[in-house]
Amino acid sequence: MEETLKIVVLVKHVPDAQFDRHITGANNTTDRDESILSELDEYALEAALQLIEARGGSKAGNQVIALSMGPAGAVNAVKKSLQIGATEGVHLSDDALAGSDAAATSLALAAVIRHLGADAPVDLVLTGMASTDGETSLVPAQLAERLSLPQLTFASSLDVTGGKVVARRDGDTHSDTVEASLPALVSVTDQINEPRYPNFKGILGAKKKKITTLSLADIGVGASEVGTAGSLTVVESAQARPPRTAGTIITDEGDAGIKLVEFLAAQKLL
């Protein structure tokens, strides 16, 4: 039997890309109506669930803690994670967090992870490869730096055995095998697995699972360290680009390939 694991999975609540997304307000932040659990974080959650299921699940003492930082509505990302199978949830919410850049976000999330490790250490922090709104991929690397954890990011495969983590990372010109000992931080790509959907039993069961709401005071972080005050970047302007409009659409009547080349020639693209 493998060692039991205490895993923290980071789940971000993001504007749904299926709707028009907007940047609003004095600090140029995204409008959070119509928000969902960031699609790419479902892969991290699935990876966590597969690891604990191989070790006898929550009955054997394994934990998958879904952690989200964000305004009141972000608790929905935590709830969705519980429905899918996380064993408990944590929501970091504080008005002072609004407008946090990656540096401020990673500072706050690192403090929560330390807080969660106070009673029993966290073995593994799992994240998505990027959020689907900011899309910077900065937070996982910054968390690893702040927590002095080995970073195994953009993992397209993951194996945890005997306290050792092995991941595959595919680059443009080569593919690497990366190894470290637990505790570690791993971000996963959408190549790693096929995330499950919540089933009826999961949805019912989630109502009984614990969600802890934390404020900055609970994790010992000052208001000036996060939010716009603690951020090291500022968005000065945001301009909606005029949406692309459809151009010429033709139906092939046997010569569309020629017409295409004529178009390219006229655009000086040949």
Partner: protein, 317 residues
Amino acid sequence: MTQALVFIDNPGPALKKSSLELLTIARSLGDTAVAFNGELHDDVAAALGAYGATTVYRPSAADLDDYLVAPKAAYLAAAVAASGAGTVLLENSADGKEIAARLGIKLNAGVITDVVGVDADGTAHKSVLAGSYNTTAKATSAVAVLSVKPNSVDPEAAPAPVTPETVTVEVPADAAANAARITARSAKPASGRPDLGEARVVVSGGRGVDGNFGPIEELADALGGAVGASRAATDAGWISHDYQVGQTGKTVSPQLYVSVGISGAIQQKAGMQTSKVIVAINKDAESPIFEIADFGIIGDLFKVVPQATEEIKKRKG
């Protein structure tokens, strides 16, 4: 005094176009230095001088490539301190963004990713939310760390070449203390075509190609372009994931993007919608890809694409 420091990691025998772009941007900010890692070939050293790098820093340690990202950030932090640079420029790859991320924490510096332009005062331009907004952002810290996308500027050599001074930077002893080790590396076969992220022309195939990328490759070759794909095509195993364009693949912004047998899902559009000219070939008139196409053809790709390829070859002689 150095204003801008460019990080260049293992370029091999020649600098990539994206590195030349970084050097061009750096020079627009002032005196430029390079923090280099890996073997420095003579041609590369000459190119660094031609692009105006007055100093080339090199790490005291030779084992940075044995670990993932972390020790490179430690080296770069030491190079920033040695140079006194106020702006650090890196490529916008996974490695580049993550080295930038960790450097930001080490130096208490703001990091801006996906940059497509930098003004003389350090203001960074980026296109966000799948190309639906153009934003400007600035680091409020003493040092700004920017990762810059390819095809952001036209590379331009310095008015007069310089001979850079080489300086060795001491890599901190604990640089790899908590780093994950790279225990195996397998090289991927080179395609012989232009790099997808940097290409002027990209021809992408989707589920509609039904396992046959031949017509896509032939059109790409006739146009001197790169081959791309939708996730449906890479998931089906018809082509490697390296060629995927979109949210979880490459973001491309070529002069010409030809979308073939791709429906135009939001995750696909996220990776190509800032292309200059978009051409779509799809047999379904209702496909969302036509909403963003400058030139659309409703038709069977297996008829239209080979005909276009033949015509291009004929015209090019």
